[in-house]
Each structure stands twice: as structure tokens, then as C-alpha cells.
């Protein structure tokens, strides 16, 4: 099987090299047969990498520890779901996932554009195959997922327990889909720049892929945040870590692009800006992939092989040099057809939105890479912390949310006083009412959060007003019910109203961030059973300890779960019962002894969480298993029980757990009472829903495609005559 996998990678590399040559030769010579062959090379690449990925997945599911990757990242005791997902927890497997997703998305875009943009697609194919070839070459020469050894060990090391969370299993495919989709607009931009076909058509072809990239990246980021909140035992969801920032930067430039594309489509403006944003987003996606593999920056995340750094630096340097060169060479063709008529117009608001988004990206880029910058300038590595990031990102986020309310209601070209009065009165009133109500409720002590709540109220009111006006107009035209008018309105203008829904989702998400970071109560305390503590308005009582042997409630494969039963009350009334636990996993490390290895792996918190629309109560426990009383079980067991009797070893662990239940030592607890955390996930879901609506093809487009699949599109593709 491993030989088949290696053969697939070699074949994939050959396909990429052939496809690049065929595409470029076809484009230069005008021979369509070569161009078509280059496009088919992408389809072939997708087929071969699908087979390679299936081989790796099969090895994980069969627990074939002859594969180095399987032995290092899975084990017999790893639950089946996590075995399947462990394939991309390794450096090698993640590279294969990246290349595989790239080939699938590239196949999709080249299939959809097979009769369009005939000048541009050969070069886009070559660029996409270039990326495919790069990642395949990494797997062939640096980090192969199909390395084997013989004899195979009886068991593997197991998947890192921290990753055994559903969010973390879906997070990498989402993030990699976002990254790989971001290379598609980049490839088409390069093609458009080389051929000089810089009209709006290429932008139209890649717009959905840019939106899909943005959406997948957003989902990936949010799933990562959710994992951090639920799994890492610190109760936070964002820490300005370089790995987090790496995925946020292309998302920000992608957001800017999705707005500025509209100005080029409607007014023929911002061509240089748009093509630069496309190139920057694609390059930042590659940089994000590089950052987690290079080890160039200190991060809370550990990094693997740093040998991949040099090839990535070469790729990124080439991308930046080629991008700058192409844009400069085509600057005459990239001149705007119109100019900004007024600073009080939708175009101006979009430009301001772009400036803020790119400014945010620059701040994050600077802060993330500051250790390298400071080392280059002063000779000493230094880094900036979360307060530095907050100092800049908080005001910029406020402006961004406010602009997301102004954008939908301000007029194109030039807004008049009458327009402003008609469109801004209700949203401004909503913001003022929110200000008065929240200040009256005593929230004025946190002006940043208060400002965010008011901006969000402004956005929601502005969008609601747009929906209401649209529904009313449709009801007047079609004489239908309000729900029917709403469905018809959104169905006929999916991009517009999907975008409005996204704005509401972003506002809701930021309200959650502002509230949970400004008004949370936190407590770290050591408690014995029966003792209580206060967390904000809540009282928490440690009722009794708990222990589960081989019955891990979270089904993550923990051998032992030690926890607590907590009674949470507010003003004397029962609120919830929480059962935070800490999972202890088998390290599979014989040096820890025949008993010690059962609980010698990475311990992981399984938080006790009561989530509600207004407040989350979060708890984590760190039981003390290092007492001499408990450790005696391990040391005696290690001395007396042989490795070949694992059942007896587990019995000793069971006795130790029973001893803990009978004589529990004080446990360390971490409690958080955070308002509106649920709004962050809810906002993410709203954004996801709006994104799907905006992404879905409108009925008119589908009808047009179905009725005239070929003749209508033929003239668009006649960029270059076919050779016989």
C-alpha cells in the first residue's frame, strides 16, 4: 500500500510538470489541444491525489503501524472518528490534504471555466499546477506520508489528546479549503495580467471562489476558536498567537476584496487595488501554510520539521516578486475608468472599509512578524503581546462595524442630505436608544464595549430597514404575503441580501467578543469537597469528586477521567450542575512503567460548560494526582506488574481512582462567568448562512446555463482562434 502511495505522489509530480508545460505551450502556440491537455492534467492530478489520500486514510483506519505517520499519530485505543481525522494531524498528512484539496478545487474551477476565458485559463492552470507540483515535491523529497519501517510496532503513539475534539478535526480541512481556494483567484489574476485581459470577466469567474475561500477560512478560524474555548483549559478563544494570526490575515484581505470587486464591476474603478488584493490574499494564504511549518516564530503551538522553511521562503519570494512585476508591467491597462465622485458615497465607504481591513491586516502582520523585524533592526528578538494588538485592533474593529452599517444604506456615486435623512434616521435612533439603555444599565464604565454595542445596533437596524423596504416593495408588486415576499426578495438578490445577513452576523459576533472580554468574571481557586467560592454573581460549591475508568464521557479515548460535581447557584437559586473533568491518556511509553503509562500521556481538560444566550458559566479542574498516597499505587504497580498483564495494570489504576474518590485532595479550579459568548458562535452561524446564500447561484444564472449551455458562452471564449 505504501508503495502505491509513493507511486501516486511520483505520478502526481510528473502530471504537474507535464500540465505546466502543456498549458504554457498551448497558450503560447495557440494550440487548444495542448491547453485542453493541460486542463485535463489537473483532473488527473485530482484523481491521483484522491487515490494517495485514500491509501493514507486506509492505513490509519486499519491501524497499519508500518506507516511512520500512522505509528506517530494513531494507536489501537484511538477512537475510530479520530483515527480517520488523525491523517491530517501530521506534517506529512497535512501536506497531502493541502495538495488534494487544491487539486479538487482547481478541477472545479477549470471545469466551470472550460469554455470561458480561453486566454487566461491556460496560465491559471499552469499556476495551479505549479502550486500542486510544489506541495507534491515537498512530499516526494522532504516529508513523505508513505515512509515505512519494518517490523511494524504493535501499537502507535496515539493522536495528541488535545486534538481529540470534533472542532479540531473539522478545523484543518476548512482552513486548508480556504487557503487552497485563495490560490485560485491568484492563479487567474496572474493569467489575466500575463494576457492583459483585465476586464471584469476574470473577476466574475473567480468571485465565487474568493467568497468560498473567505467563507471556509472564516469557518476554520471560528472552529479553532471554539476548540480553544472548549479544550485548552484557559477559557479564551483568541490569543493573538502567530498561528491564529496567519489565518486571519488572508481572511481580512479577502473581506476587502469581496467589497472592492463590486466597485470595479459597477464603476470600473480600483483595478490595481483589486488585482493587488487578489495576489496579496493568495500569498498570505501560502504564508499561513508556511508559518505553521517553519518554526520561524515563537508560538504556543509546537512546530514540526523546519526543513520546509527554505522551499516555502523561495516560493513566497517568487510570488511577491512576480506579483509586483506583473502589476507594474500592466499598470497602463489597470487604470480606472471612473473617479470617485464624492467622499459621501457607497464607493467611498467601500474604499474606507478596504483601508480599515488592510490596515488591520498590516497591524496584525507587523505584530506577528515583529520578532523577526526587531531582530533585523536591533539584533535582539522581542515580541509584542495581546495588549499591543488590542490597542490597534479594537478601534479599527469599531470603525469596521460602523462602516458595515453605513455601506448598505448609503447611495452610490453621491449621497444627498435627503438620502441621508431617509436612510440613516432609523439606524442612528437605534444606536442612540442602545446607548441610553446600556449607559443607564451601568455599562458606561467600559466605553469600548459600549461603542461596539451601539455600532452593532446601528448595523442591525440599517440591515433590517433594507429588508423591510425590499419586502414592502415586493409585496406591493406581487401582492403576496410578507414571508413569500422575503423569500422572493432574497432569492432574486442573493449576493446583496446574503451580504447584508453577513453584516448582521459580524455585528452579533463582535457584540459577543466585546461583552465577553469586557465583562467577564474569573476565579482560580483551590477547593475541597463541600467548599464554595464566588464568581461574579454566582456561587459554586464543590459537591463531590468523580472518576471514570475507561468510560470517558467525551469519548476521546481517555483511560481515566477525574473530575468534580459542581453546584452553581445565583442568589440562592440553583442554576446548573457542572461536571468538569480532566482526562488522562495512555502515553504508550514503556519508560513510564507497566501502570504509569496508562495515565502518563498528555492530560486534557474537558470543561464543564453551561452555555446560555446571555451568559456562559465555564469551569475546568486540575485534580492533584501527584500526592504520595496516590503515586504509591503507580510505583508499586510498576514494580510488581509485568507489561504483559495490562488488565492488572488497569486494576491498579481503578484502585487509585477509588482511593481518590474516598480521600480527595484539594483540586485546583478555574471558573469563568462570561456574558454573550454564545453570540460569537451564533454570529458565526449567521455569517455562514449569509455566505451560503451569497454563494448560491441565482435562479436567473441557473436558467440561463440550462437553456443555452454552449452557444451563449461561445463568444466569450473566442479570445484566440483554435488551431486545427
Amino acid at each position: 500500500m505504501a508503495t502505491l502511495g509513493r507511486a501516486c505522489l511520483l505520478l502526481a509530480l510528473g502530471i504537474c510538470l507535464y500540465g505546466i508545460a502543456a498549458s504554457i505551450y498551448g497558450a503560447r502556440s495557440g494550440q487548444r489541444a495542448w491547453v485542453d491537455s493541460g486542463r485535463r492534467a489537473i483532473y488527473a492530478l485530482a484523481g491521483v491525489l484522491t487515490l494517495a489520500f485514500a491509501v493514507l486514510e486506509a492505513a490509519f483506519l486499519r491501524s497499519d503501524f508500518g506507516f511512520d505517520t500512522v505509528a506517530g499519530h494513531s494507536s489501537l485505543s484511538t477512537p475510530l472518528f479520530y483515527k480517520a481525522a488523525a491523517a491530517w494531524s501530521s506534517q506529512e498528512g497535512s501536506l497531502l490534504l493541502w495538495a488534494w484539496l487544491l487539486s479538487l478545487w482547481s478541477s472545479l474551477v477549470l471545469f466551470l471555466t472550460r469554455r470561458r476565458l480561453r486566454d487566461v485559463t491556460p496560465y491559471a492552470s499552469a499556476v495551479l499546477l505549479g502550486f500542486g507540483g510544489f506541495f507534491t515535491a515537498l512530499m516526494v523529497f522532504y516529508a513523505t506520508p508513505f515512509a515505512t519501517h519494518s517490523p511494524a510496532p504493535a501499537d502507535g503513539a496515539g493522536l495528541t489528546p488535545l486534538l481529540r475534539h470534533p472542532s479540531m478535526m473539522i478545523h484543518p480541512p476548512m482552513l486548508y479549503s480556504g487557503y487552497t481556494l485563495a490560490t485560485i483567484p491568484l492563479a487567474f489574476a496572474v493569467g489575466a495580467l500575463i494576457t492583459g485581459r483585465l476586464d471584469a470577466e476574470w473577476l466574475g469567474a473567480i468571485r465565487r471562489f474568493a467568497l468560498a475561500s473567505w467563507l471556509f477560512l472564516g469557518i476554520g478560524i471560528l472552529l479553532g476558536a471554539r476548540w480553544s474555548y472548549a479544550e485548552l483549559g484557559w477559557g479564551g478563544y483568541w490569543g493573538w498567537d502567530p498561528v491564529e494570526n496567519a489565518s486571519l490575515m488572508p481572511w481580512l484581505t479577502g473581506t476587502a476584496l469581496l467589497h472592492s470587486i463590486q466597485i470595479q464591476e459597477k464603476r470600473g474603478m480600483l483595478k490595481v487595488w483589486n488585482v493587488s488584493l487578489v495576489l496579496a490574499t493568495g500569498t498570505l494564504a501560502i504564508m499561513g501554510t508556511f508559518l505553521v511549518r517553519s518554526g520561524v516564530l515563537s508560538s504556543i503551538h509546537a512546530f514540526g520539521a523546519s526543513t520546509l522553511g527554505v522551499p516555502f521562503v523561495v516560493l513566497i519570494g517568487s510570488l511577491i516578486a512576480a506579483s509586483v512585476g506583473l502589476v507594474l508591467a500592466r499598470r497602463q491597462l489597470l487604470r480606472s475608468q471612473h473617479r470617485l465622485d464624492s467622499l459621501v458615497s457607497r464607493e467611498a465607504v467601500f474604499v474606507a472599509n478596504n483601508v480599515v481591513l488592510v490596515g488591520l491586516c498590516f497591524v496584525i502582520f507587523w505584530g506577528t512578524y515583529f520578532p523577526l523585524i526587531s531582530e533585523a533592526v536591533t539584533g535582539s528578538k522581542a515580541s509584542v503581546g495581546p495588549p499591543w494588538f488590542d490597542q490597534y485592533t479594537v478601534p479599527l474593529a469599531l470603525v469596521l462595524v460602523l462602516l458595515s452599517g453605513i455601506g448598505p444604506v448609503i447611495a452610490w456615486r453621491r449621497a444627498t442630505v435627503a438620502n441621508a435623512r431617509r436612510n440613516f434616521l432609523l439606524p442612528a435612533l437605534a444606536a442612540l436608544v442602545a446607548l441610553a439603555a446600556l449607559a443607564g444599565a451601568g455599562l458606561a464604565s467600559r466605553p469600548g464595549a459600549l461603542a461596539m454595542f451601539c455600532c452593532a445596533a446601528f448595523v442591525v437596524a440599517a440591515v433590517a430597514q433594507e429588508f423591510w423596504r425590499g419586502v414592502r416593495a415586493r409585496m406591493a408588486m406581487a401582492r403576496g404575503s410578507a414571508p413569500a415576499a422575503l423569500v422572493a426578495l432574497v432569492g432574486r438578490n442573493r449576493r446583496r441580501y446574503g451580504g447584508y445577513i453577513i453584516h448582521v452576523g459580524i455585528a452579533v459576533l463582535f457584540v459577543g467578543v466585546a461583552a465577553s472580554s469586557s465583562f467577564r468574571h474569573e476565579s482560580e481557586v483551590s477547593l475541597r469537597p463541600g467548599q464554595s467560592t464566588h464568581v461574579g454573581a454566582y456561587d459554586v460549591r464543590y459537591v463531590k469528586p468523580s472518576a471514570h475508568l475507561g468510560e470517558d464521557p467525551a469519548r476521546t479515548g481517555a483511560v481515566l477521567d477525574i473530575g468534580a460535581v459542581l453546584d452553581v447557584t445565583r442568589h440562592g437559586k440553583h442554576v446548573t450542575t457542572l461536571t468538569p473533568t480532566r482526562g488522562y491518556y495512555d502515553s504508550n511509553d514503556p519508560s513510564q512503567g507497566s501502570v504509569g503509562h496508562f495515565i502518563g500521556g498528555e492530560p486534557v481538560s474537558h470543561v464543564g460548560l453551561s452555555a446560555g444566550p446571555l451568559r456562559d458559566f465555564w469551569s475546568a479542574i486540575e485534580p492533584n494526582l501527584s500526592t504520595a498516597d496516590l503515586q504509591r499505587y503507580v510505583s508499586v504497580g510498576n514494580r510488581t506488574i509485568p507489561f504483559v498483564r495490562p488488565d492488572e495494570g488497569l486494576t491498579v489504576i481503578a484502585l487509585m481512582a477509588r482511593r481518590y474518590l474516598q480521600h480527595p485532595s484539594p483540586a485546583q479550579f478555574h471558573f469563568l462567568a462570561s456574558p454573550l459568548v454564545t453570540w460569537i458562535w451564533l454570529g458565526g452561524l449567521i455569517v455562514f448562512g449569509g455566505g451560503l446564500i451569497a454563494l448560491w447561484p441565482s435562479p436567473a444564472v441557473v436558467r440561463r446555463r440550462l437553456r443555452s449551455p454552449y452557444p451563449a458562452r461561445l463568444p466569450q471564449g473566442l479570445g484566440r482562434p483554435e488551431s486545427a
Binding site: T160, A302, W388
Partner: protein
């Protein structure tokens, strides 16, 4: 006003604003940054009151919790030099002996006091391979 002049004025204003903001960004990043130091570097040159980002590995057997306070030693990644850290605040799950940590510290006498909630532990969540069992 002449439209061309108006455009130039806008461009100049925008560029000036961008320059001011970029200068502020650069200035604050250099003044707010904490230099990253290993234990041996801290032992050699740490100034009292100055904040440093201590990076290194937690020394086995050095972890002691007393109520809310955690005492432990951090050593060089590839060397025996170590410093004592006195820390209060959130302790990440992956914190344990041998794990690589980053913590903001200030020198107080012979030991170093960690800033509250500044302890971060490198979590093996990205592509790190666990040692393969031999049995």
C-alpha cells in the same frame, strides 16, 4: 477647486495620515515589546524592573503549587542553566515538566516573578510527532 488639485490634496492627506499611523505603530511596537530571553541570557543580563519574555523548558521535579501560586524552574532548551519562576494566574493544560513555555517575567532579587496570566505553554497541536513506542 480644480478637480485635479482636489484629488492631489486628498492623496496627500491620506498619505500623511498613513505615515503618522505607521510611525505610531512602529514606535509603540518597539517601546511595548518584551525582549525574548533564554534562562542563561537572563542570568547574565536581566535588569530589575524590566519585562522579559522567558522561553525555555520546565525543569523536571521543580513544579510546586502553593494555593494560587506556582513555583517552577525554566531551563535553556539545550543546556542546564535555569531560573526560578514565581507565577500566579492561569496555567494552561499542557503545562508539565519538560514542556516548552513562554512567560513574561521581571527580576526580583534572585528569582523572577511571572506576570499574571502570561504563561503560555507550547501545545503539541501542530504536526509534532509523539515518540514511537518500542514495545
Amino acid at each position: 477647486m480644480d478637480p485635479g488639485r482636489k484629488r492631489r490634496l486628498r492623496l496627500f492627506t491620506a498619505l500623511a495620515a498613513a505615515l503618522v499611523l505607521a510611525s505610531a505603530l512602529i514606535y509603540t511596537s518597539f517601546t511595548a515589546a518584551s525582549p525574548a530571553r533564554s534562562p542563561s541570557q537572563l542570568l547574565a543580563s536581566a535588569q530589575p524592573g524590566q519585562s522579559y519574555q522567558l522561553t525555555g523548558k520546565v525543569v523536571a521535579g521543580s513544579i510546586q503549587r502553593q494555593g494560587q501560586v506556582l513555583d517552577f524552574r525554566v531551563r535553556d532548551r539545550n543546556g542546564p542553566s535555569s531560573v526560578a519562576v514565581h507565577y500566579a494566574g492561569t496555567v494552561p493544560d499542557p503545562f508539565r515538566a519538560g514542556r516548552e513555555v513562554i512567560v513574561s517575567v521581571r527580576r526580583q532579587g534572585g528569582s523572577f516573578v511571572g506576570e499574571r496570566d502570561s504563561l503560555v505553554t507550547k501545545c503539541p497541536s501542530k504536526f509534532s510527532t509523539a515518540p514511537r513506542p518500542n514495545r
